[in-house]
Symmetry: C2
DNA sequence: CACGAAACAGAAAAGGGTTTCGGTCTTTTC
DNA sequence: GAAAAGACCGAAACCCTTTTCTGTTTCGTG
């Protein structure tokens, strides 16, 4: 008997066994366990005790077969590795966890074939909904328009305007950053950012330039594009300080670049934030709290984004209209020592 | 018809509908789709075409109901946030993805009640196996001994020796680090590490001391414990350099601490690796490649750990003996510029 | 005591797929 | 020409749970 299902374990208990032990029919057992009213108190107690004794757990799959809902959602990501996916995932898992929904996690590793495969697997599991999470804010191909379940795209929007996409508002983020720098009394602001092929980079530039324009200011020099690394932050800032020694703020396209900027400023004896203010994007905890000084950053509120996605799927399940188009999530400014001196 | 299931979608297609379209019984349709031999070639073609036309996807749940297997595995983590869980998760998801197993992801947020809840949910979903991932290498309470499915603990071992646990070998890691420093000609080695309540910290110390002992050396000063942060790395290294100016290597308990050490060394004009070698643990990509110089580190091979866990569950499903006790995963030394000068 | 009304228990169907078994139709062989 | 063999298809059972509907018992009341 042992070792039949697996070593040391027993097969899962079914309602039939509970009913037999309690000496009732499965129908009665079901009603007793689900609090239906057509069961005598004594009978109910007997059933409950039997269920307890066998540590019975109802088979959600069989339940789902009846109801037509599985209470599961597929979360299809293209890049788990990436920092941005995790907070989104947590937000979604959190929102779902509250109701009794479980999440299937699939990582396509950025491979389209693989993604199709995973998609099919999820549909065959009859997920009630689908959340597609990308690793860049650039638009991505839709997974299809006439799927039997609602789909929400997060972080990376779908290229099909009929789909619903939830993305961080990087234009607002750029604007917010510059407004903060200006409010700190800065006026000679330079911008070092990452890979120009990223929509995130372009959007932040757009927002930053708009905010500068609104204040009657201009960016110092050209936007410096390259890669999202500390190294580039260091190198670019070195060039910047040589070419424009009088800048009083560096707007950095990511927290990593910002850390590089802080390092170079420090190396060259420029005080932060006294001589130069530095601000980053992403509010990546480890980067932001370990630098000297701690880094002011724009938080894209990714966890909220994940939660919203989950709520949208919930709503769609309840028959609500799904909505479409790209919706943005407002960012949040987190002020630390790199722009405002600590008393 | 539209908007019945959800906006813009259609209900999932069942085998019955395919059979009707093909003009055969469900039995025949099933056999045709599954390559059974008792179907005429022409009939089979008709069924396949019908399935194609309706884009039929078989209901894995219904299949699982028959077979008694769902082809799903629960992955129960206590802390998704943590850096260590993700690589493990990826390794497992990867290994499972190859076979047709899908992963339910649950995050208990470090809450025991919540964990029990999730566990019950997973069992009610009839997962075929369970992987429990912790965020520290300290042992954790077993989720129970007589569950109807095989369970593997990863990173954080179970406190029940009857359970199977897979953990990184931190003793070996400590040893490996010191051996590397010695092989680089270092002999005056100090150790700055994190929170002493972490088994990881203690184990690495054990390994390090053993390696020193084997080489006839002694640690310079006491082990310096505090927290796993860059700040502590900086402060501790400053103290160290003042108290023992002649040290030629700092063994750091994490990559973060090591980055702090690098910063302080740089501030004080000590050349790395010329004057002082620095080595960290975890091989955390962003930390390790962005420092000046790049950081030598011990990689705990977490992805392999996740993969092993998946394979163990697979094996158990195939009726193999589960095994028990704590098994360790050998670490890997990754040499970079902080211990060996780049030509 | 008899009748109606509750109260309670159980049989059966449903949900989607697979499999077994039995039946029909065609083909081969003597 | 008849019997045996094979090829092919379909009815029905099964997995597990819920729900509806029917049947039985008990109780209260006239």
């Amino acid at each position: 008997m042992a070792g039949k299902d697996h070593v040391g374990g027993r097969k899962a208990v079914t309602l039939t066994e509970v009913a037999r032990l309690a000496g009732v029919s499965v129908a009665t057992a079901s009603k007793a366990l689900n609090g239906r009213s057509q069961v005598a108190a004594r009978t109910r107690a007997r059933v409950l005790q039997a269920a307890e004794q066998l540590s019975f757990v109802p088979n959600t799959l069989a339940q789902g077969l009846l109801v037509g809902r599985t209470g599961t959602v597929g979360l299809l990501t293209s890049d788990l590795q990436g920092r941005f996916v995790i907070p989104i995932l947590m937000g979604a898992e959190d929102a779902f966890g509250a109701g009794r929904v479980n999440v299937f996690l699939c990582d396509a590793r950025g491979d389209t074939i693989r993604e199709q495969h995973q998609l099919k697997a999820l549909l065959s599991r009859r997920v009630d909904g689908l959340i597609v999470v990308g690793s860049r804010t650039d638009s991505r191909p839709s997974v299809g328009h006439d799927l039997p379940v609602p789909v929400v795209y997060v972080y990376a929007p779908s290229d099909d305007p009929e789909d619903l996409s939830l993305v961080p508002d990087n234009v607002a983020a750029g604007r917010l950053a510059v407004e903060h720098l200006i409010s700190c009394g800065r006026s000679r602001i330079a911008h070092v950012t990452g890979d120009p092929s990223y929509a995130a980079a372009q959007d932040r530039v757009t927002g930053a330039l708009a905010a500068l324009d609104a204040a009657g200011l201009e960016l110092v020099g050209e936007v410096m594009y390259s890669e999202w690394s500390e190294r580039w932050g260091r190198d670019a800032t070195a060039v910047l300080l040589e070419r424009y020694p009088d800048i009083d703020a560096v707007l950095c396209g990511s927290d990593q670049i910002a850390r590089g900027a802080l390092d170079t400023a420090r190396d060259q004896g420029r005080k932060v934030p006294g001589d130069i203010a530095v601000i980053g994007f992403d509010n990546w905890d480890e980067m932001v709290t370990n630098s000297r000084p701690e880094l002011t950053s724009i938080d894209p509120n990714l966890q909220l984004l994940g939660r919203s996605a989950a709520q949208r799927v919930f709503a769609a399940l309840d028959g609500e209209e799904m909505g479409k188009g790209v919706h943005t999530q407002a960012p949040r400014l987190v002020i630390r020592g790199s722009t405002v001196a600590r008393r």
